[in-house]
């Protein structure tokens, strides 16, 4: 009985704490196209992948029906639109299973651990499902099993989305509160902005459940464009841990490059590669929330920040800066600053080198808390379009963590 309770507790905790990946091989089947149509290196999206997402997981400019190679199953003919409200509005579902599998295994090295080397296979197995329902709904979800110190964590978030137009989507379920989500991540190590915790253990990385309004549109000459999102979430867990709801928002503007919602106008070039999208994107974000923790007072915190993402030919340079103010009754306010700067270079389309510098100062007003900073050099090898190897080193530069270096060889595959 204790074992069952323990498993239940671990499962509940996992539902709150585990974040998700986004790489959906079922889209490859649906459109009979390679992963690299949408991904720079899965799960990181390229310019077209972002446009596909911004169209509600559909091809741009209303061409999704003709690009779909697997015929959907009709749940009502078009003529039933004329019958409504005397009938259910017609729809369809994917013609074949929308399920995919994403497997992750690791060889880990941690300099200061008793067991320095270990084989962690699997680290994670994700059963992913995603697709469209008729003209205006889409869905995205997963059932994830993850090893965390020999405990099995399970999570099962999903989102149902109403796609009014590329400029207006309404999403319920797992939403994009994290300003640096997984579909922009190339590394095994999470962005420090996503992993940085508030005093009551809240962090962006944990899945956020709520409602979101978001959209995107192309810029001048159908190049670049804007994205926005604003949402309200529990903040912690599927059942909220406090009576306060958290709110967040992010806006971006992209100058040059593929339009945020796709299209080919003005995109003439002498060169092309799936990983090239010459552009600069700037963004700003905020999050205002309340974090609860057993035995502690509630923490009210506010986050604001910005990011820059510069793509030129085979290079990408991006960075983000985040400030957090945290207030708790009876103790001084805490101000934090976190940032990173990262560069990628595509040596070959299957071989990408990267280096990231990250800085985290948990309390900028207190010298007693020393900042954490580290270098993360790494190499990503796309052995196949759906098989990825990541060789990554995390080298701490600050005195406290100096010897806590880690090294990982991560293997991912998608089916």
């Amino acid at each position: 009985m204790n074992r069952i309770l323990r498993l239940f507790a671990v499962t509940l905790i996992a539902v709150v704490l585990v974040e998700v990946g986004y790489a959906i091989p079922s889209f490859s089947r649906k459109y009979k196209t390679s992963c690299s149509t949408c991904h720079y290196a899965a799960p990181m999206l390229n310019g077209f992948g972002k446009a596909f997402k911004n169209n509600g997981y559909r091809y741009p400019a209303g061409t999704d029906p003709e690009m779909t190679k697997e015929e959907p199953v009709s749940l009502g003919s078009e003529g039933y639109k004329k019958v409504w409200p005397e009938a259910i509005w017609p729809s369809d579902i994917p013609g074949t299973s929308p399920l995919s599998i994403w497997g992750i295994g690791r060889i880990n090295y941690a300099a200061m651990n008793d067991v320095k080397w270990e084989f962690e296979f699997p680290h994670e197995v994700e059963i992913l499902y995603a697709g469209t329902i008729g003209e205006n709904f889409s869905f995205f979800g997963e059932l994830e099993f993850e090893n965390e110190d020999n405990q099995n964590e399970i999570m099962y978030p999903f989102a149902l989305q109403y796609d009014w137009s590329p400029g207006l989507h309404i999403r319920a379920g797992m939403v994009h509160a994290d300003p640096t989500p997984n579909h922009l991540k190339l590394t095994r190590n999470h962005y420090n902005i996503a992993s940085f915790r508030s005093r009551n253990r809240w962090r962006f990385r944990d899945e956020q459940i709520g409602l979101e309004v978001w959209g995107a549109g192309n810029g001048s000459g159908e190049r670049g464009g804007y994205t926005y999102r604003a949402g309200v979430v529990n903040g912690q867990g599927i059942n909220d841990m406090n009576k306060e709801k958290d709110i967040y928002g992010k806006v971006t503007y992209k100058i040059g490059g593929l339009g945020e919602t796709g299209g080919t106008a003005g995109a003439e070039s002498q060169t092309s590669e799936f990983f090239i999208d010459n552009s600069v994107t700037v963004g700003g974000f905020f999050y205002k929330g309340t974090a609860s923790r057993a035995g502690f007072n509630d923490e009210d915190f506010t986050i604001f920040g910005g990011d820059v993402d510069y793509w030129y030919d085979r290079f990408i340079v991006n960075g983000a800066l985040m400030f957090m103010n945290s207030g708790m009754p009876g103790i001084p306010e805490r101000k934090s600053m976190v940032y990173y700067l990262q560069g990628n270079h595509v040596i070959y389309p299957w071989l990408i080198g990267l280096i990231r510098y990250e800085w985290e100062d948990a309390d900028t007003d207190q010298d007693a808390v020393k900042p954490v900073n580290a270098f993360i050099p790494g190499v990503t090898v796309m052995a196949r379009a759906n098989v990825k190897l990541v060789l990554e080193f995390k080298m701490f530069l600050d005195d406290v963590n100096k010897k806590n270096d880690t090294f990982t060889l991560q293997m991912n595959f998608g089916l």
Partner: protein
């Protein structure tokens, strides 16, 4: 009277535009080990001492629904091929083959065309799109305009071939078949069937 002259003139022009003596080659290709017998090319590679004018009209290869159409395109050496992008996504055309100087046409929007002239006969370059790696097509560059592409049921036809004795070859991207010596009659047709396999 004038009307009769016009009709006679047009008829003469039509007759002169056609070879006075020409036969057709037709037949069926049976492909083993693939889903269908289409996209094989049956051709006369060259005729000693005979050259042909390059057609003024460009050959065409479309990029539609993430597919090159047609999948195989035989052309006379010197022919220019127009590549049309019919999709609402960016496409590219390049070839890694040295016989076409590893050309890369860049990328271009829907509805626009970029072209390449295939000069070297005997070359069978693969066409690829570096945005969509699953896309693939072939251009077969020949010294004669006598070629036919098989339909999915394996049937092919090469029309208006100068009479004579030739080596008839077959090309398929995955399968191989033996060439056949064929004698094309002055009128009528000759039937040549092929079996191709790995």
């Amino acid at each position: 009277m004038n009307r009769i002259k016009i009709v006679v003139s047009i008829s003469l022009l039509f007759l002169l535009s056609q070879p006075l003596f020409a036969g057709d080659i037709k037949g069926k290709v049976k492909a083993k080990g693939v889903k269908h017998s289409g996209d094989a090319v049956v051709y006369i590679e060259k005729i000693d001492g005979k050259t042909f004018d390059v057609p003024k009209d460009h050959a065409k290869m479309d990029q539609k629904n993430l597919t090159f159409i047609p999948h195989v395109l035989p052309v006379l050496a010197g022919t220019t091929v127009d590549y049309l992008n019919s999709d609402e996504v960016l496409h590219n055309v390049f070839s890694p083959e040295t016989c076409v100087d590893k050309f890369n046409l860049g990328t271009w929007p829907k509805g626009q065309i970029r072209s390449y002239t295939f000069k070297k006969s005997g070359c069978i370059p693969v066409m690829l799109c570096n945005v969509h790696p699953e896309m693939e097509a072939y251009v077969i560059v020949l010294e004669t305009p006598y070629h036919g592409v098989t339909a999915k049921d394996g049937t092919y036809e090469i029309k208006d071939v100068l009479p004579g004795k030739y080596e008839l070859k077959i090309w398929h991207e995955k399968l191989k078949g033996a060439s056949v010596v064929v004698e094309v009659p002055e009128h009528g047709e000759v039937v040549v069937n092929f079996d191709i396999k790995r």
